[in-house]
């Protein structure tokens, strides 16, 4: 009776020890991998600094939920489940893969501690892991190769289709699973033929199936198969290892780091350069990202980590309306440039201006900074900070569209993008009827507990001024002692910062901060989510900032505000989450709670709501920028509301109101649908 010869003892043609191959393969594989990784790390070493070692606890939590827990994956159910299976399988099989490498040098090697029951449990698990991974690969392969979901398509301008790479990688993984199982099955079948005993394997697992299939095979065949499948696995394994850093499967290696070092502060923009304070900005030679090496190392890691899953672009409103922007290709183009400029061998190329080389100006200006892409990315890849950095670079080079130069200049001269006189900033409060009932305190002359920060559009746009009056009315009725800054208020600069005009933003921030602190108020309230975000997240040293919807929800709960039954119970209301209230600041429930406090109000939800809310078209300076697009974001949004069966779209942002009001007209739904600001709905229902 003989037993099968393992790869460590096997001799090819009876003379050449297979162990030599088992030794050379890992040495060459690991060596090559180390070399490739060193080359891949080269650009990161030259990159701009990035501070990502703070709040370790929070980072570990992200690692557990996002990386290990694959929390974002089920947002796309089929692809997500397939990925979770493959991911979990990889984690389980990693131990097996390492032991297999050693088995090539030492027959029957078992990982320390895996000798007893733990080994049995592990083997049971890994048999199923391999089986399910193979099934997942087959399903994924069929899905990618035959059904071809639209999300993965590569528009012509972005280069060739990526399907081949995806299917190839799935093939490799499948090969690993099959060869691993055959290696084991051939041994078990051999043993069965010799002893007639069935070694326990997980029922219906690959190994189980293969073992049963091989019971009739000759011993010679099984011996050959055993060795062949071993080396097939070994070669494939090291090939795969070195293949990973060459494309989108790099994420298998980088994702753990990418998630650990992820951006933790939503709603906040990175400094121009880490380690350079606002006061030192003047000393910087250059601003923003102009060339590849101006990105931070983390942003480069993002590029490496992209799995090309297309979810960002699938959620991107700019992409949806046909603007020349697809976040997926912001990353893929940069990754390809990194691969090209930092080749695996030979000299490193000198980088060119990114905005001539791989991006276009319109592409970078097309982003509304809504954050849908970042919210969706399973790997926590950032986009907004990159867009802002690229825009900082363009602004520094003077590359600003004429349509944006006008409002920027007006902001510099007058503190608002419309170029209106400062002294008219509080004119909304002068409307006769309103003034008689609700005199507004000027906090530069009087004092109060609360500052109502109005911001530019609400101060100057005739249509939107009503939001200011309603907000003041609600605050008044809720018993809040408040006032405004009047002509001392400047634009909050939320979009100025996000459009890359850093120094202008700094200027606005300083003026506002000084004016706000001089009033001595204890809290700030605003009805403009963009102002809310800037004051809360971008500014420092201010009293707490609250959005009017938070105040209303709180005052309803406390009983300070009570609401009448719904004036139009026959209408169907839907709440549209403004990006800067929802995604960037997590305020989803307060406005809904306030709406639901109106008795008899029928409220529905759109399919895309809360953190999947669809941008209305953008606020602030975005109103001045005219990108090429096939339709308007607002029109798509209005259609979504109509699909949900709503005829009143309630929003809590002046820009959303402007965009959705316009969109209703463009969509030809005037008379059928209306847009209403949160403050107006509440003010109408004040008891």
């Amino acid at each position: 009776m003989t037993s099968i010869i393992g790869p460590a003892s096997y001799q090819f043609f009876g003379i050449f020890p297979a162990a030599i191959l088992s030794f050379i393969l890992p040495v060459v594989g690991v060596g090559l991998f180390a070399y490739i990784m060193a080359r891949r790390l080269a650009p990161l070493v030259r990159a701009a600094p990035d501070y990502r070692l703070d709040r370790i606890g929070q980072r570990i939590i992200q690692l557990i939920t996002l990386w290990l827990g694959q929390m974002k994956q089920p947002r796309y159910m089929l692809a997500g489940v397939l990925h979770i299976v493959i991911f979990a399988g990889f984690l389980i099989l990693s131990i097996r893969s390492v032991s297999l490498v050693i088995i090539g040098l030492s027959d029957g090697f078992v990982m320390p501690g895996f000798g007893g029951w733990l080994g049995d449990v592990y083997n049971f698990l890994k048999d199923y892991a391999a089986t399910f991974v193979l099934i997942a690969c087959i399903v994924a392969g069929i899905r990618r190769g035959i059904f071809k979901p639209a999300r993965y398509a590569v528009p012509e301008k972005y280069g060739k289709d990526h399907t081949a790479e995806a299917v190839f990688a799935l093939g490799i993984i499948g090969t690993l699973m099959i060869s691993e199982s055959l290696f084991e099955a051939s041994e078990l079948a051999f043993a069965y033929q010799q002893t007639g005993e069935w070694h326990f394997t997980a029922p219906l697992s690959l190994v189980w199936i293969f073992t049963h299939m091989l019971t009739g095979a000759s011993l010679n065949f099984l011996q050959g198969l055993h060795i062949f499948s071993y080396f097939l696995h070994d070669v494939t394994f090291f090939f795969f290892l070195c293949f990973l850093p060459l494309g989108k499967h790099f994420h298998v290696i980088t994702s753990i780091f990418n998630v650990f070092f992820m951006r933790l502060d939503k709603g906040k923009i990175k400094p121009v350069r880490y380690g350079v304070s606002d006061e030192q900005l003047d000393d910087l030679e250059s601003f923003g990202v102009k060339k590849l090496e101006d990105f931070t190392w983390k942003h480069m890691l993002d590029f490496y980590s992209c799995a090309d899953c297309g979810r960002c672009s699938d959620q991107c409103p700019a992409n949806a309306v046909g603007r020349p922007l697809s976040p997926r290709f912001i990353t893929i183009k940069a990754r390809d440039l990194m691969f090209k400029n930092y080749p695996l061998s030979g000299e490193i190329y000198k980088s060119k201006m990114l905005v001539e080389d791989i991006y276009t100006e319109d592409e970078i200006w097309s982003c509304t900074t809504c954050g849908a892409c970042e919210e969706e990315c399973p790997l926590a890849i950032e986009y907004i900070n990159k867009m802002v950095d690229l825009r900082r670079g363009m602004v520094d080079e003077g590359l600003v569209p004429q349509s944006l130069q006008k409002p920027l200049k007006a902001l510099e001269k007058r503190g608002n993008p419309y170029g209106k006189m400062e002294k008219k900033r509080a004119d909304w409060a002068l409307e006769k009827e309103f003034k008689a009932d609700y005199p507004i305190k000027d906090l530069t002359k009087e004092s109060a507990d609360t500052l109502y920060f109005v911001d530019s559009i609400t101060s100057y746009d005739d249509n939107i001024q009503e939001v200011a009056r309603r907000t003041a009315m609600i605050l008044n009725r809720a018993g809040v002692d408040f006032g405004i800054l009047g002509k001392d208020e400047k634009d909050s600069g939320n979009e100025v910062l996000r459009f890359g005009e850093e120094m202008l933003y700094q200027d606005l921030k300083e003026q506002n901060t000084e004016a706000i602190l001089a009033t001595g108020v204890k809290q700030i309230v605003t009805a403009d989510p963009h102002a809310y975000n800037a004051l809360k997240n971008d500014y420092t040293g201010l009293p707490p900032v609250r959005h009017i919807s938070q105040v209303v929800a709180e005052k309803i709960t406390s009983g300070a505000l009570s609401l009448k039954p719904c004036q139009h119970p026959e209408k169907v209301y839907v709440y549209h989450d403004p990006c800067y209230l929802g995604r960037h600041n997590g305020i989803y429930e307060d406005p809904r709670q306030a709406l639901d406090a109106i008795d008899g109000l029928t409220r529905v939800e759109m399919e895309k709501s809360r953190d999947r809310s669809f941008c209305c078209g953008g606020g602030g300076l975005m109103l001045f920028y005219e990108p090429e697009e096939e339709t308007r974001m607002g029109v798509l949004r209005v259609n979504m509301a109509a699909e949900a069966g709503a005829n009143v779209i309630v929003t809590a942002c002046p820009f959303c109101l402007v965009n959705i009001q316009d969109a209703i007209k463009v969509a030809g739904k005037e008379g059928e649908m209306e847009a209403l600001d949160f403050t107006e709905l509440i003010a109408r229902h004040l008891a």
């Binding site: 003077g398 004429q402 920027l408 001269k413 170029g419 006189m421 850093e502």
Partner: protein
């Protein structure tokens, strides 16, 4: 190519609402914001682009008070190499010819192949470029919306003429051109750009430095002077035309004729 661009600091038409002072004879200047004349900005951008293509340098010059230095710095932040401020109490109250004479004195101090001005500025006269060219005996083209450098001594320029048509001319250097908006897309200059050139020296030259007889410029030399500002009474809100459609149309046509609409 050595290029001189003449610029002016003007009240910004986009960011101001013009009102008269309480005496009613001048603008209420308390709340006005100023910037570089829009046409001049296009001229500087054009100059920078020419120099980028064929080499040389761009100098920006203005006649004005100390505050006019800010527009020179803005244009230098755009990419102009040098700035010169021509400032003297004697220059105050100059008419177009006075300004052209002051600029002529500065042109004589240098060696410029091309002198650009904006097609017009806040006063809307569009006069300085043409006057300067006549004083220098240089050829001139106004409302230029295209410049092509042919060789060291010749350029081709397009002038914007009625109906959106373009009149092409060949001009010998040195020459003076007044630049129309839309000839290019001026680059953006932010606060940061201006701060970067804050420490660059901008020489200030007075009548003495330029060899100008103070009697020939300023108020004394001006043959044309502004007496006062006024705003014709326009009333508030629209005058609503009522009656039958025929009556309305009759009234409307009368008004359109008066306002140049027909």
């Amino acid at each position: 190519m050595e290029i001189l661009v003449c610029v002016k600091r003007v009240p910004d038409t986009a960011e101001n609402e013009f009102e008269l002072n309480s005496a009613g004879n001048d603008l209420d200047r308390d709340d006005l914001v100023y910037s570089v004349n829009e046409w001049d900005n296009y001229a500087v951008e054009e100059a920078i682009q020419i120099v980028d293509n064929v080499g040389g340098s761009v100098t920006v010059v203005t006649v004005g008070d100390d505050e006019s230095e800010e527009v020179l710095r803005r244009e230098m932040a755009m990419g102009a190499n040098n700035g010169v401020l021509l400032s003297d109490d004697a220059f105050e109250g100059s008419d177009g010819k006075g300004i052209a004479a002051i600029l002529k004195a500065e042109v004589a101090k240098g060696k410029y192949d091309l002198i650009l001005t904006g097609a017009q500025a806040d006063e809307g006269a569009g006069q300085v470029g043409g006057m300067l060219s006549a004083m220098l005996d240089y050829p001139y083209a106004s409302l230029v919306n295209k410049i092509e450098v042919v060789n060291d001594t010749t350029i081709q320029v397009g002038r914007e003429i009625e109906g959106g048509n373009q009149e092409m001319n060949e001009i010998q250097l040195p020459c003076v051109l007044s630049i129309q908006t839309g000839i290019n897309e001026p680059r953006y200059v932010g606060i940061r750009g201006i701060r970067k050139v804050a420490s660059v020296d901008v020489p200030v030259k007075g009548a003495g430095d330029l060899g100008i007889d103070p009697a020939t410029v300023g108020k004394n030399g001006a043959k044309t002077r502004r007496v006062d500002y006024f705003v014709p009474d326009l009333g508030d809100g629209a005058e609503m035309l009522e009656g039958s459609t025929e009556e309305i149309i009759e009234k409307l046509i009368e008004k359109l004729k008066a306002k140049g609409g027909l």
